[in-house]
Symmetry: C2
Subunit: 612 residues, 2 copies
């Protein structure tokens, strides 16, 4: 058959090639999702040949379009596109899912130009919102963000967060392509092939919605052209497709999800055999110059020792100061006057993104922004970061550099009650690959740590306090990730109290009470929980007889466990004070007392330990 | 003014009373959200007087309607309703937010008839879906579920999961009331007062949508009547309201969120002063008899020692067997043929709920179902339980009894790659208040633990494996929560290997390798991670020189930390083997080796430790 690039015949042939390649690479690997790839093959063929503008040889080119496979399990199709575009060779293509290969079971940034890892459904579109926000509001470059979604993932609420935010920010550089093949893993989706219902939903959320036969390359061409013409709002194609399209043994049949075809050779023959078409993917429009990012001088705020300041306020003040660096952006989940990212928003409104009460979209947007090189800080109540935990987990797989701040830690928030108290955040964030977990006890520590987070790789998390704490750390004192601060010590210390955040004050007061009774306690402020200051912790433990950790957090996974790990090979007994009963409303003092982590409880526990 | 129950004047007066009470109780407490309460006061006055059918003196009455405050911060209004209904006295009303009071800052089940805790936005409506599912499909009683939502929380994706699922299950016993006061905590919502846009969204999701002036008691009456007449679909009111309605100093003004009024006395005067109206809330229709729940005999499946079975299959088989108990229900996130809840679905289709790819709604529905007394098991890939972490956190505050099963744990899943690998689940679930965390290594352990979970209070979590493992535990061997299994031991043991799940096999093989070199290792299978078998762990540690933990999980917060805690006061060194580098695709063997948690790595580490 005669096939020329940009003709309907070529596109049909390319679609068949993408199918054949999806079938053969998953069969070669012995696993994967060929049928989910086959349904979207024509959609991707037309995208690749004439709409996508992406220089695959220069994946870092800032003018490039972005393509996110929100249905990451269609990775055979994604890699087949890379092969057709000449970005990878046949040899590498056949390493799909093999140990060491860049072509993992679900795409990750290990294989350029992949911006974000996908595979947890409903995350690619929200990440695409972040990329599109960067293009429209920060980079100000005319690239487009294309996101291929599955129809099963339309059941994820995060998809509708993305729909709402993309329309709110008028992201007409974003195009979602929904592969409506109607069949999920085990059953038909709730909407099945009713693309009009999907379109009505999208329109109600402010999008330009187009329905199309996802196997008609001419109709797809017209739909993309329509999407590209759309101004002032994002566009979405709801494409009616058949799962396993083109192979009778699997086409539109249940029970064919996520496994290689039984007879791949026959399937390939039915699809017309192997092809070796190459697409000249359009190069991006580079006429709009890339703007230099202004690098201003940062003057961090500082406070006098003895001042009473909430660390959440110090976070906001430090972030606002960091904003002199033109690469720093901030996002918040509609609680900026609580987290105090409002101080950044006031100082740098053009680099502040209100993400409303949609924590999943907030994290995904931050991941998208950082993929374009922006230094993103995202904040909400620490308790509500739990809403986006899967997104934070996936951000680590995306190799994202991401800074999180969670305010209102622990029972010390007082009257609002347990729904607003973060008591599991240290555990959850410690268990994120490559993460850094910080919980400063005063304003000067906070400012220094926020500044260091800006240049830190991976996911870093700063836990801040609702209430004021006294500044103990001098503005010129060294504060560092992996460091700690000795609050008090003497040669006679019998017990080491290890605390962080609000419990540093309680531990110091406890040490005062103990001293009056002739018991000397060392107090260590472990503001860096991951990495913990192993040297200081081990030294303090070795110089005293027993260690007592105190944290405003459940007993599992937080400061106490970090200290236990640091002391795992030392024969010093470690005891934990932590929140063990479900808290309620009350004053901070009442709740710290109820939890047994106030000065009195610490002193009592320490005395018992020393006497033992 | 003459006011009679069920008249418009009475309702207007009642609305004013609810406002006055919201103002005075938050002022008395010194915190709270009076303005967010005032916007919904008329809506709740009309609900209380003529539509809600709830015997407040008998909150456990199975025919009662349910009222969920999804906007939990409007707790002053919620408690003012309890006062107006005679459920609490003035004295208790004034304990709002005080230490020890049942009237917490956000409602919890400590104050009946509250079914679920709210305060993390976007969770009340999905929980209401669970209650309505119970009413329609299990209890088969004609109660109605009313959910008051805020408009800010409409930005949460979980709200749209609830919209889709409620329509899919045709829950015409569910009515959502959205208080569209347009003002969030810091700014106007994305939709503001455009109730028609909300209504269009709801209709596109399959609901009967009504727009109404939320301060016109006659219009509200008509809207409720319309909602009550609706058949075959859920109904929603989008009520245009003013935040702080009725008090000029705050009405429809920004910056008035979440704090007591500056001049409560003046506000109360402006609202017409204090009132002491009492509403005779309608009693429920008790004509439909409550059905007895059949209690069938459970015959747990068992396997022969040496059989090769995946623990996820054992989960499904045990759950299907437990289904003979008529109170057991199962939910899954559209991966039932992976988690093997499909075995339950086949055996008991009438008690299986497909929740599609919407993990937040799945957990919320399970919480709603258990609030009605059903024994709910919810399952998905363990990695995707992270999507619902905030819901699991809140379920603990709801005092929910909830059983979770997460399949496909760790790098041992192989080729699918890190997005599908749960490596943080043990940490996350350990850090849930009152939780139980289990990770059996074989099928017989699994079946015994699933059976025990059914009667366990609180949140329990069973982590299962994708691949087959050999059955080591005899069917008649004791397996218990808080227990462990000694896989091998001798008097000469120098090192204790502590493992769970897939690493039990690796540890046992490592011990075999070590024995050939004359190094004797004890192997402990800690299938119960929380609570851990402290006695057995301490005894093994005391009888050997060093402990090595091995887990298919990040190093933080999992088995290793649980063991460290158990041994915190013993002078036995503990070393951890865990997954420290980001995995990729590969075979299970390759990935266990890469992570340094296979038999070879364990043997090497153990030898080094023993030689040290």
């Amino acid at each position: 058959m005669e096939t020329t690039s940009s003709g309907a015949d070529f596109r049909r042939e390319l679609g068949q090639q993408l199918r054949v390649d999806s079938v053969r690479v998953s069969s070669h690997a012995g696993s994967g999702h060929p049928t989910s790839s086959m349904s979207a093959a024509d959609l991707m063929a037309v995208l690749l040949d004439g709409h996508l503008r992406l220089d695959y040889r220069h994946p870092g080119e800032p003018h490039n379009d972005h393509l996110v496979f929100s249905k990451g399990h269609a990775s055979p199709l994604y890699y087949a596109m890379l092969r057709a575009a000449g970005a990878i060779a046949e040899d590498e293509f056949r390493t799909y899912r093999a140990f060491g290969s860049r072509l993992e079971g679900h795409p990750t940034p290990r294989i350029p130009p992949t911006d974000v890892a996908t595979g947890s459904l409903g995350q690619g579109l929200p990440a695409g919102v972040g990329l599109a926000l960067a293009g429209k509001m920060l980079d100000r470059l005319p690239y487009r963000v294309w996101v291929l979604c599955g129809d099963s993932e339309m059941a994820e609420g995060s998809i509708w967060e993305a729909f709402e935010h993309a329309a709110h920010y008028e992201l007409d550089n974003l195009v979602a392509i929904v592969d409506v093949n109607r069949l999920g893993q085990t059953t038909e989706t709730m909407v099945a092939w009713d693309v009009d219902t999907y379109a009505a939903r999208a329109r109600a959320f402010g999008w330009h919605a187009i329905t199309v036969d996802g196997h008609d390359v001419e109709a797809i061409e017209a739909a993309y052209a329509d999407a590209e013409r759309t101004r002032g709002k994002p566009a979405v194609l709801f494409a009616k497709t058949k799962k396993g399209k083109g192979v009778a043994a699997v086409e539109d049949l249940p029970g064919k999800h996520g496994k290689p075809l039984d007879d791949p050779d026959e399937a390939i023959a039915e699809l017309g055999g192997r092809r070796n078409l190459t697409v000249s993917v359009a190069k991006p429009d580079t006429s709009v110059p890339v703007q230099d990012c202004p690098v201003g001088r940062v003057e961090l705020p500082s406070w006098d020792v003895g001042d009473e300041v909430a660390t959440r306020e110090a976070y906001g003040a430090a972030l606002a100061a960091l904003g002199s660096r033109g690469d720093v952006v901030a996002l918040d989940g509609e609680v900026s006057n609580s987290t105090h990212s409002d101080l950044f928003a006031k100082a740098h409104p053009e680099r502040y993104f209100e993400m409303y009460i949609a924590e999943q979209q907030m994290i995904a947007a931050a991941v998208g922004l950082q993929a374009r090189g922006w230094t993103a800080f995202a904040s909400t109540f620490a308790a509500f970061l739990s809403r986006a935990y899967d997104f934070i987990r996936m951000a680590a797989i995306s190799r994202a550099d991401l800074r999180l701040s969670g305010s209102h830690a622990g029972v010390a928030i007082g009257a609002d009650g347990p729904s607003q108290m973060a008591l599991e955040d240290l555990a959850a964030l410690r268990a994120v690959h490559g993460s850094t977990v910080l919980h400063p006890s005063d304003a000067n520590q906070t400012a220094q740590l926020v500044a260091q987070m800006a240049d830190l790789p991976g996911i870093s998390y700063l836990r801040t306090l609702r209430g004021k704490t006294p500044v103990r750390t001098a503005a010129d004192e060294s504060v560092r990730i992996g460091g700690s601060r000795t609050v008090r010590s003497s040669d006679q210390d019998e017990v080491t109290l290890i605390a962080c955040g609000t419990t540093v004050d309680e531990a110091d007061r406890a040490a005062g009470l103990l001293a009056r009774e002739g018991v000397f306690a060392r107090v260590l402020d472990c503001y860096s929980i991951k990495p913990i200051d192993e040297v200081a912790v081990r030294q303090a433990a070795a110089e005293t007889r027993v260690v007592l950790t105190v944290e405003d957090h459940w007993p599992e996974g937080g400061l106490g466990d970090a200290v236990l790990e640091a002391l795992a090979t030392l024969p010093v007994p470690v005891h934990k004070l932590a929140v063990r009963e479900m808290p309620m409303s009350g004053t901070p003092e009442e709740l710290l007392r109820m939890a047994g982590i106030d000065a009195g409880a610490i002193a009592t526990a320490a005395k018992t330990l020393v006497a033992a």
